[in-house]
């Protein structure tokens, strides 16, 4: 355990990277998710097709493959981002598809009568969506949105494969330095447990405040 205790600074740094990756990517995923869900329920056929295609493709291709396409594939056409930026883009896009699915399920819980009423009052489609449907939709799926967040913490570890030194990367790096795999990885495991439990706690508080039960 000394191996872990004498490198607490490294772990803190790795955890910080994991947290930043997770928070920034979740914001991105949330924005993408709202956009995709809006596309999927819009009256414009090409937008609906785009939304469906996006969700089907992104959800069915492994995250690691998407990392490699963005990191090793796009350099071939002259598009090059740093590993950290690549990770944020890919994690946002991947989880955006899941957020999109969740929000769309939430849209279905909004009473149709409300939408008809808004239309009758002269609200345009974007106004109905932004002012009436999406706020209610999001509040009715607070828990599944939290699940996406917790999944994102875990999935941010895949950034390790393109050499981002987050928590998993820290463990791997410390292990090649100290050759004490069990101790070093236990340290990282504790880090992830703390993150998961802490966010589960925060999410539950948010749920109590925000969630609407129908």
């Amino acid at each position: 355990m000394n191996a872990v205790l004498s490198h607490l600074g490294d772990y803190a740094h790795g955890m910080e990277t994991t947290v930043v990756l997770t928070l920034v990517s979740y914001l991105g995923a949330f924005a993408i998710g709202l956009a995709v869900a809006s596309c999927r329920v819009s009256p414009v056929p090409p937008l609906r097709a785009i939304g469906t295609l996006y969700i089907d493709v992104v959800r069915n291709v492994p995250l690691l493959v998407q990392f490699f396409i963005f990191f090793f594939g796009l350099t071939k056409v002259g598009i090059r981002f740093s590993p950290f930026t690549t990770s944020i883009i890919v994690l946002s896009m991947y989880h955006g598809a899941f957020v999109g699915e969740v929000v769309r399920a939430g849209v279905n819980t909004v009473d149709k009568g409300q939408i008809d009423a808004a239309r009758a009052l002269g609200f345009t489609f974007p106004a109905v969506l932004l002012l009436l449907v999406l706020p209610q939709a999001v509040r009715s799926v607070v828990q599944p949105l939290g699940n996406v967040f917790i999944a994102l913490i875990k999935n941010s570890s895949v950034a390790y494969t393109i050499s981002v030194v987050e928590l998993t990367g820290t463990a791997d790096r410390l292990n090649s330095e100290l050759a004490r795999a069990i101790a070093v990885f236990t340290g990282a495991a504790i880090g992830y447990l703390v993150l998961a439990l802490a966010s589960a706690f925060v999410l539950r508080q948010m749920e109590k405040r925000l969630a609407m039960v129908r």
């Binding site: 090409p46 690691l64 239309r119 895949v158 992830y192």
Partner: protein
Amino acid sequence: MKRAPSGPVLGDDLGPRARRMVNVVSAVVLVILAALLWTAIQRLRSNGQLTADKWRWFTNVKVQRFVLVGLLDTVKVAVVAMALSLTVGALLALGRIAPQRPVRLVATVVIEFFRAMPLLLLILFIGLTFPTHHLPLGAFWYLVIGLTAYNGAVLGEVFRAGIASLDRGQTEAAQALGLRWWQTMRLVVVPQALRRMVPAIVSQLVTLLKDTSLGFVLPYEELLRRGRELGQDFTLHQPALQALIEVAVLYALVNFTLSRVAHRLELHQRRSGRGSAPAVTGALEMAALDARSAASAVSGTGVT
């Protein structure tokens, strides 16, 4: 969920003005899409990605066999891990609802621990420690063990939520009829719960299949690793992007097939009249299941 896929999804049928608006927006969207596609093609061409050299391997039988063997190894590891995960998940779920308190405690700790771990961390750990601790099982089994530990825990939670979502009256009635705990489970609870959980289980199995790609780090010679090796091959002019696209398409095809088969299964079940229980179809319903059964600390549904 039951709204028609075509026509306006929100609200009533559109009037003439709204319909004109929709047509205009559709046209604009299509023009933007065409422009994007054009830019992408230009970009590919100016970087020499559309030359015949970069794509010739695509019709090379030897190369394709190399890729398909990778796909086969992916499917192989996935099938073994699926079977083991379902078994482990069932055992863990039974442990969580067992009448003995210590058994419940152990099952709960195991489930919550492995669900909170990133699979990549587990796989790296197994790959690093097993060979040096007299367990040289090989990359295939390291990957299977990692996948089983993680997905077994997640499925255990799915099973538990499904069982907990059943009406208490079912168990009570079975007990009133004199069935033992084990008989109640086997004859009454599990068959009903299972039917509700099929969609959640399938989405987790799709996740498992996608996660086999993490075997890349071991290294296990699966589809993605073969795709990368192919992409770096000098004699094939290093078609990195092209190879990754083929890999992505193959993964998507396998996953689509898996989802489709599961969907068929579900419809078949419903048509044969045995599917009277409402199915748990997605994240939302899973959440409802979770909520109904005093949600546990760390839950994730089909995202990882």
